[in-house]
Subunit: 268 residues, 2 copies
């Protein structure tokens, strides 16, 4: 059987502003390769990402796009979220500048793909899944968009005038695409495309019922998969307590990391 046709003008895109987030990008990219995506894989990096990591990214991704850091500098609202680091997530908006693609699916580097999700390209801008914290907001860790310099400019202007209610990209995108909750059910991605960690403890029977359908896991919060401890002797991850990360999914993340990422790390 011939391999499925590659699609040149659609891309999965992620972002890494540091070598540590790039570890997430690498696992994410490998998770998409493993499920046989037919779309391009793009990582946007900022100047702070090191040479060694860029080389490894180059072996997994079709395109490395160097972008500037955009920062919200909204310490008050980021404080409410207890995530001073999140202002930098405005850098995501650069994805709208990738106009060589007709459509993109942006995904956070702390997500992992479990099943092929190429059908997401049937959706239009702006599609995203509900955020469990306040489900009339979408979670901005997975979204479908149409690159456009005009939209990029509009987002920057909006950032200056209106800003973000949480200091991060999610609080801005939810104000910008404010009709999302009420207008078009097609723009509501099913939750299985962005199952955030808190779903693993907040409604266990639903996880049991729908867990086999999960296509994307999203390790939200300050503790990321790469911050857990890993026992090289047993090959088992030792989850930090209190993160809400699910042991099985965390183990899958580490399996990809140890098999496909770690062996190619620059030893220096």
């Amino acid at each position: 059987m011939a391999p499925p046709q590659q699609v040149e003008d659609e891309a999965f895109v992620t972002l890494a502003t540091s070598d540590t987030y790039a570890l997430g990008s690498l696992v994410w990219g490998q998770s998409l390769r493993r499920v046989g995506t037919t779309r391009k894989l793009v990582v946007m990096i900022t100047p702070g990402v090191s040479h060694g990591i860029r080389q490894q990214l180059g072996s997994v991704f079709d395109l490395l796009e160097v972008v500037d850091v955009l920062d919200s500098r909204d310490t008050i609202n980021l404080g409410l979220l207890e995530r001073p680091d999140l202002g930098v997530t405005f850098t995501k908006f650069h994805v709208w500048r990738l106009t060589q693609f007709k459509k993109c699916v942006f995904m956070d580097s702390d997500t992992m793909v479990l099943q092929n999700i190429d059908e997401l390209f049937e959706r239009e801008e702006f599609s995203a899944a509900p955020d469990p914290g306040w489900p009339d907001c979408f979670n901005s860790g997975v979204f479908v968009l149409q690159p456009s310099l005009q939209t990029y400019q509009n987002l920057l202007a909006f950032a200056m005038t209106v800003g973000s209610f949480d200091g991060g990209d999610q609080g801005l995108l939810n104000l910008y695409f404010k009709d999302w909750a009420y207008t078009d059910i097609q723009k509501h991605l099913p939750f299985i495309y962005n199952v955030v960690s808190q779903a693993f403890y907040s409604y266990l029977p639903a996880l049991k019922q729908f867990g086999a359908n999960i296509k994307v896991v999203h390790f939200i919060g300050p503790v990321k998969p790469w911050m857990h401890k890993y026992n090289t002797a047993t090959g088992e991850v030792i989850p930090e307590p209190g993160t809400g990360h699910h042991g099985t999914f965390l183990q899958q993340w580490w399996n990809i990391f140890m098999e496909l990422v770690q062996p190619k790390m620059d030893p220096t």
Copy 2:
């Protein structure tokens, strides 16, 4: 100005299977009266509700409907939820038997109405708001339905054959009305019509941004508003730790309770 026209064939309905849940029903009913609803108020009670409480319910509600207890007896899934008490919530299904009404809005007795919500009667069966735990499920604490003996029979048959994935009414209704997540955005009530307690800590910036729009608060979980301590000297509620209940809303619940419910309690 003439008072708004009363609507005879539409009703807000709640359920109390015990005197304690009836305390919730009373506060809920008073909260709806206070915002000037033009719809009928109905409480379904089971034989276990005492005579004294029935009398007080009678002074607040337009109709007391005595119903049988329906029970799921699914201890395994209720155990996953850590709520063995929830099987009895199948009793809710009796609301479909209230065919003297063209349309009903069912609401849990642990909800409290902050602003008039009569516009909910513009929605069709089956409308509900997303559940933060797994937002492709709706929360069954607030929903719009059309009474029908046929639907009631269908729900009972479904309970026998398929059952509930969480042991409670929510896990059954989500299987029965399984297209809810994907079909019609009009059937997605905005979250402000059923803001469950966990929203008060899981995404604080959203609460700050959208909190003033909240119309219904829902005190989900094993600890109910009436289980908190209250200081009669200061008039202040003392929230139990770890419930996620929001101090301001809890205080509002107790203000209604102390002003309109407690003074009329049977002293015996």
